[in-house]
Amino acid sequence: MNLVLIAARNLLRNKMRTVLTILGASVAILAFVMLRTVLSAWSTAADYSAKDRIATRHKVSFVISMPKNYIDQIRLVPGVKQATYMNWFGGKNPNKPEQFFATLAVDPTTIFDVMDEIVLTPADRQHWLEDKKGAVIGDVLAKTLGLKVGDKFTLQGSIYPGDWEFNIDGIYSAKRKSVDRSTFFFHWSYMNDSLPESRKDQIGWITSRIDDPGKGADISAAIDRIFDEKDVQTATMSERAMNLGFMGMISSLLKALDVISIIILLIMMMILGNTIAMGVRERTREYGVLRAIGFSPRDVGTFIVGEAAFIGLLSGVVGLALSVPIVELGLGRWLEENMGAWFPYFRIDAQTYVMGLGLAIGLALVASVIPARRASRLLVTDALRRVA
């Protein structure tokens, strides 16, 4: 027997209160884990950006397109190994327009040289190159849409209206988990050829691979200088900056999520603090007895802090135990399948587990500091006079 055991047993004294507290705190941990995972899913996407890739877009915004011939000039810039261009097509599944996946009109001859994290068999690639109405889609999307190689599929255009029919020529997977496996790639020329004259030969952005990641800034500047005097100027940046730019649109949302997760943690701390303070108040007399027997104020403090650590630990463990099925299997799988472009990989990372458990214990300890100090400073005679 020791003080820690007594602290643990104290938790069983008011089982209902302990259960409700742990439940409340663990729901807070679950919410925290969810928000952290949203944030980390977004930032990993940016962190995994290739270091040897730069992206060029219209100087004003990535939603405005550029003349297609810019690609030829960029390919000539020293340091650029390969460049490819694409347009955001914005196509939908006509049967399920609420499904979200990226549809990109790309240059089939260069896209996979630049996006080398995408894995496609050489046979499928060759087949696709020769089929102007062909499309290559990610394996996750293939599963969602129930498609296999050889099937036909129609996209409903939004930015480019009409029904667009495709042959599924290949299904890609990826070398890294951070890659969106729900993208729909198809021939840029198929789209371009069907457009009215006024909209032809416009591209959304250009992605280039460079031979030296260290020279990214210089090469980007060199590219932008070429178009400085043209009607349409460009902004070239690292792929990471580009991805962060996409996220920039939602950066205030990210900040809000950060604030919300802090608020959730504070609420959790209050729940824990309240339970601890209630327990301490009820047990004042017992602390007086411990002190009379010869235990030090510090022992009494340790005793209370120990009890708090137990509640925190249990809350953290229960919270994480709830998080795994809910976030990884439920929400995560749904997001990966339905919003793969935003959340290609929605899983709780190790850091979040550690943080969740650490914060549950840590904040319980913090919440116990005031009750513990108050209890350890009690005069023994006062504590003993207290009617239970």
Partner: protein
């Protein structure tokens, strides 16, 4: 003549109630010889518990000198007082004050956590103390599974387990019926006679006071 184990001289204790100081003990002097069993009586609020607390090193006098078991309590720090209590004092309270989450034997073992005895030694000692109070069979029981008298006997086992120099008991039979009270008094008497423990017992009950060798009366801050 045994040497005194408690020597109080000119003890004054005042409490602050709001702005007014109230004098509870007023220049009191007391000597208790080693090995005696004394009862302390007096009207409610006369300061019996206050006096007991001073002797037990739970509180300090406002004025005066207090030497208990050779230790000068007035000059000791809080930490030293805690050690003094752990080493020399066995407490018995009116309300038993057992920890409800601990079994009888665990409650008895509690004071031994402050010693460096091994786990098995602690268990053995606690078991011996429970045997002395006649509750060895109940050692796995929780306080709520025991009667008031049994709880108080467990509390006595806890008070004697570390072999204290003095046992202080603040109205130990106050919550008990006659029969259970007699059991407790018999036990205290035995601890005094057989185990040579010095016992100081606060009580309201003249029956209880009769068991003690000496009865002192506290009134108006003075011993009569």
């Amino acid at each position: 003549m045994e040497p005194s184990i408690v020597e109080l001289k000119g003890i004054t204790k005042t409490f602050q109630r709001g702005k007014e100081p109230i004098v509870v003990l007023d220049g009191l002097t007391l000597e208790i010889p080693t090995g005696s069993f004394e009862a302390l009586m007096g009207p409610s609020g006369s300061g019996k518990s206050t006096l007991l607390n001073l002797i037990a090193g739970l509180d300090r006098p406002t004025q005066g000198s207090a030497v208990v078991a050779g230790a000068n309590l007035v000059s000791m720090s809080d930490g030293e007082l805690a050690k003094f209590r752990a080493r020399h004092i066995g407490f018995i309270f009116q309300a038993y004050n057992l920890l409800p989450v601990l079994t009888a034997i665990e409650n008895v073992e509690l004071p031994l956590l402050l010693t460096n005895l091994s786990k098995t030694e602690r268990r053995e000692r606690a078991q011996t103390a429970l045997r002395v109070v006649g509750l060895e069979e109940r050692m796995k029981h929780y306080p709520r599974q025991l009667s008031g008298g049994q709880e108080q006997r467990v509390a006595i086992a806890r008070a004697i387990v570390n072999d204290p120099t003095i046992i202080v008991a603040d109205e130990p039979t106050g919550d008990l019926d006659r029969k259970a009270a007699d059991d407790i008094l018999n036990l205290l008497e035995r601890l005094n006679k057989e185990f040579k423990k010095t016992i100081l017992m606060v009580t309201h009950d003249p029956h209880a006071a009769e068991r003690a060798g000496v009865t002192r009366k506290l009134d108006k801050g003075q011993l009569q």
